[in-house]
Each structure stands twice: as C-alpha cells, then as structure tokens.
Point group: C2
Chain length 399, copies 2
Amino acid sequence: MSEGVDEPVAALRALALVQFDARPDVIDLGWGHPDPDLLPLEELRSAADEAARRWGPDLYAYGFAQGPGPLITWLSERLREVDGRAPDPASIVVSAGASGALDLLVTLSARPGDVALIESPTYHIAVKLLRDHGLEVVPIKRLADGPDLDALNAMLDRLDGAGRRPALFYTIPTFHNPTGAVTPLDRRKELVRVAEERGLLVVEDDAYRELFYDEPPPPSLWSLAEPGTVVRVGSFSKTLAPGIRLGYLTGEPALTARLAQSGLLDSGGGIGHVPGLVVAVLAEGGFYARHVDRLRVAYRERRDALVDGLVQGLPAEVEVNRPQGGFFVWLGLPTGYSATRLLEAAQAKGASFMPGNAFSATDGLDANLRLSFSRYGPEQLREAARRIAQALRDSGQAH
Amino acid sequence: MSEGVDEPVAALRALALVQFDARPDVIDLGWGHPDPDLLPLEELRSAADEAARRWGPDLYAYGFAQGPGPLITWLSERLREVDGRAPDPASIVVSAGASGALDLLVTLSARPGDVALIESPTYHIAVKLLRDHGLEVVPIKRLADGPDLDALNAMLDRLDGAGRRPALFYTIPTFHNPTGAVTPLDRRKELVRVAEERGLLVVEDDAYRELFYDEPPPPSLWSLAEPGTVVRVGSFSKTLAPGIRLGYLTGEPALTARLAQSGLLDSGGGIGHVPGLVVAVLAEGGFYARHVDRLRVAYRERRDALVDGLVQGLPAEVEVNRPQGGFFVWLGLPTGYSATRLLEAAQAKGASFMPGNAFSATDGLDANLRLSFSRYGPEQLREAARRIAQALRDSGQAH
C-alpha cells in the first residue's frame, strides 16, 4: 500500500447499526443529524412500496448512469422554485449524498498534490475527504459575511507565483457549517466574479438551502455564475433522510457528462437508482415540498429553544448567533476561554458539542463551539443549554 | 479543471430510467446484466417493508460507517460457506457495489501516476475506473489458467528497475470477465506467493463466486493469502439486484479501519445502509441462499442454451467455451476473422455482443467476442446464437 494509508488509524468501533453513538444521560449536540422524530418514515416506506409496484424490475436494474430520469426531471423544477434558476436536466448528476458528489468530482478533476482551497472554519469531514485524495488543503479565513476575498486573491496570487493553480475552492455560502452564517448576495456576486476572473473552480456545498427559518436565502453561487465556474452539491440527507444516501450536483454539461461516464457510474449504473426513484415518488403530489415546510416549522422551534436557552443561561460576553437556517449555532467565548475545557465540564453535566478547533485548519478556534439543534426536541435543547451554562459557571471560566 | 477532465466526452444520452438501452428487434448479449425475470422483486419489496417496520428511524439515519452490523455479521458467516474461510467482521467494509469498493480503495491506496497492473483481457469498466484516478494501467497477459506469472514477475522486475512500485494488481480469478475462465487452485497459490514475495497488493474481483453451474470454484485469493496481500471485492448485483448498489470488500483490519474512517464513509454514515439492512432481512431464514441456488439452475440452463446454440450453428473452427459460472461465453474466431466486422453483420440480423477489443488494453483481441447469457431466457439465447451464426456465414467470414 502506498502513501494514502500511512496515517495512524484508530481501531474500528464494535459493529453497530447507526453512526450516532448514544451516551447515556448525555444530550449530544455534537452531531449534525436530523431528529429521528422528523424523518417521514411512513411516507418513505410507502413510496418504496409504490416504486416497487410501479417500476418492477426496472427499480432493481442497473440504473441510468446520470441518475434516474424521473428524479432529474423533478429536481430541475424544484431547484427553479428554491434557487435562482433551474438547471437543465443535462446539468444534473445524482450521487451518493453530497459527499459522494464531492468525492466523484475530486476524483475526476483534481490530482494529488493539487491545492484545495477551503474556508476556515468549514465542514471538517469535507476536509478529510479532500485529504483522502491527497490534496493539499489551504485555508482562507472566513469572515462574518463569507470568505475573505482579499485573502483569497492574495492566495491565488501566491499560488500563481509558484506556478500552481488550485483545483477548487470549497465553500458553504448558505447556512454555513459550522457557523450557520449566510454569505449575502453582494458577497456572492463578488466571489463569483473573482472565480470567473481567476479561472477558479468553486465547489458550493448547498446542503442546507431548503431549511431556512426566516427569509429564503440568496440564490446559489451556481445560479449566479457563468457555466463552468461553480459546481453545486446538494443533498436529501437533511430534508428527507440521511440513510437513503441521495444527493446530486449541478455543473456544466461537459463536466456532468464526464462524471456520468466515469467508471464508477458506468460500472454501477449510477449510484442513487433505488432511492432516487423513491424520492421521485415522494415528490409527486407535493409531499416533498410540504414536508420541507413542516421541517422549517419544527427546526425553527428547535433553533429558538436552543438559542433562547443559551442567551438566558450564558453570561452576556458569550456571543450567541441565531442562525437563519441549517442545523448549527456557533458560540464565541470571551478571550481566554477554551471550548475544549468547557467540553469536559459539559460532558460531566450531561451535554456535549463540537469544539471549534474541529472545524479549523489551524487549531485557532478554541474560543468557539458548534451546537447542533437538529437532533433533539425543544425540551432537551433547553436542558442542554442549561447544562452547558452551568458547566461554564462551574468550570471557573465565567463569573 | 485539471487534467482529469481533458478527455473528449460524448454528450449524455437523453434521460432514461435504466442503463440497458433496448434496441427494437435486437437480442443484445453485450450487457452483463441479470435477467429482469430472475430478480426477486416481491422479496426485495417485502424485505424493504420489514426493514422499515423493524428499524424505524434507524433505517433512515446516518448508518454505521463500516456498514450495518446485521449485514456484516451475516456476511462473515456466508463467506465461510461459499469461500475458503470467514473474514472477521472487522475485515469487512460495505460499499456501493464492487465498483464502489474498488473506487474507495483506489482513492486511499493509490496515487496518480502510480501503475495499476491489470490482466488482459479484463473487465473494461474497472480499467476506466482506474484511469479516472490517474493511474497508469499496465496489462499482464492472461493465459487460459490465469495471469501469466512469468510476465507478471518480469514486469515487477522492470518497474523495480525504474524505481517504481505498482499500487495494485487487479484480477478476476473466478468466472473471469470477459472469458468466463477460472484460475485453478495451484495457480492461485502461485499468484499469492508472488504477491507476498514482491509486496504486491492484489485486488481480487470476486463478484461471480456464488454463481457456479458445475463445481464450486476454488477458494478466493483473499482466503489463501497472508493478511495485507489481497483485498477482495464482492457484490450483490449479480445474486440479488444491481439497482440496490450493494457490495463489500474484505481486507486486513488496518485497511478496513482506514476505509471506514474515510471522509466519504464518515460523512455519509456508510454508503449501503438501507440496502444493507434490506439484504440482512433477506438473508434471514435462508432466503438468500435458496435464491442463489435457484439462480444457479436458471443461469445453467441459459448458459447451455447459448453454448449449445453456438456449437450447433457455428463452424467447428470457432472456439466456444462452456464457462463453469458467471455470465459470459468467450468466442475465439479463426485467424483473419474480425469480431468488429461480425458485430455489424450480427446487428443487421438482430443480435449483438461485445467485441474482444473492448476488454483489451492493446486492441489485440479482435478475433474474440464476449456473449452474455445473463439477461435473456433460453429461447432468445438460442435465437441469438442462430442469428450470430447466420451473420458469420453471410458476412463471408466463414465457409
């Protein structure tokens, strides 16, 4: 085996059914998972049944490599409703979740040793995925309103000077993970202009677009850019269910054709055939749209329960945002406070979260922490806020 | 975009439901797809239903990254029955089909510019997948009883001399695609010894193991080798249904841990959660084993229909094998005959196949062709054999 496997590797956890690793008496806000109570179980079950009845052997055959036609046709229309413009069906490729889309894109468009630019902070497992491909990950600081474009330009200059071109810039402009922030429209346009001028491929992680709790978010970078500048990856993991492993990307047709004709999708007959057709059934008659509406109401209540609990319990010096969508609240502790130390104290009290350094390329975010309000109901979220506030007081880190 | 996307790319086919591209009046033996009539539709449907009832929200949650525990536990026992030895559960990772296993393995264990050794002929789409990752594909001639080990050793010497180590050797020892041949036990042991001595990672594509029609095949290379020498990839695409996109690999625990902790599987919560649990239900009470037994009977009849039809219709100089398992009959035309020209004539008569060059790294197999007996019933296979024999006569390529 070659250099990909020389990192130290922890032993596997004992066999389990699901990823969530429940700890007794701990309300664990570390996981960005949907609330099990909000999964449309009966509808998924009956849509799977209907798909089997309707398509018979075609449901279980090698699928169309680009993704099943009925899903793509609907998805194009859905994106017209929730984004700035509709992608032509030829611009869509169905994938195994957003991560499957990112993985396939990187396999075909980047080469080890290439630079992948990321925002910092950013979704930590996307960074792991980029590193799995041997990419050199270079962070660009994220400001409150999006990536620091001066820093981005300076880094592009620096790479240019070294004769290097980054393979991509991975960004989450909408309900950012971990900060929950939204890059406003004017900053989106500026970012797109930089990318167009510099020939930079932007990979836009758009997994949270539909889960807005106040105003709809601005249009995607993909919808604002010239074809070929932005690839947007999307997901049904947050709006339907992560277990179905269904996502997609939108990009220019030369790229989507290349992806659909890849060995992986050609050999497998696509990679989201059964779940794609199940979702095509769910989309009929408007169930998907109604379900997302219900999720907005439910997650808004959860967001408010957590944020209100935190604001009430924590000292005023702690910065608490109220994200307009997505799954995450991002806290800023006053200078000198450590999220890592707070985590220990909080876990002793029965609450957990992700410390900011997990999302940092440079370990410079120990004054921050991410709390996910997606997995628990309002009562538990309020209780978690109480425990964290108590932990902050008891740990001697607050007055 | 960088060098991965600079190949010429054909436009996408218009949206479709499935990969199989039906042509009116053509019996197309070019596709290695299961017969739609042999898919266990009702059982898949009711197992999906049962999985939803039994696991509720856990069915649709982010799954355990290595793959769902109930599937892995059963699979370990199943491999004890159909292979030389059972893998420890920690040696198994669940994947999106055999191609998903190969893709993830290559992402983590090879680097562009690395050499990937293949047999020639071999499964053409695996070669495409290796090339998607930027690997330099180097063919080793396949003899009737497996890869030419002298040629393999000579190539390893040559690479050694150039200071290069191949990332892997991809081989299909059991019911080989496209030739249908089985590497016998003694040759398996020799190959394993070479790999162990030379530190060569062997990737064994074992997708057809369970579909034997005469004698069970020899044990896998994986089961014969020291841990770390062989990674075996397996699939439920041929024995259950390709649309469910379920496969696995077995390898040493340090590797499987690395794969299970990859960004792709960590971010996604595994990649075969729902279908893996559906198959775990199907395995209960022995349905899977009984279904495979039925497939053996059905595909044996199809194999015999095609082979008998070819033997009766074709001139004696054409070599026709009778594969002991898998999906493929491999024909050898007498010197001077061209499979490419025969294909044109056959298509005009309403039969199709894959010419040998599709499986060759050097286009040196135009005297061979691959016929798949997997997708059609016996009557159509006999008719296809008649049409191909007629085409051979009419095209002036036979007496």
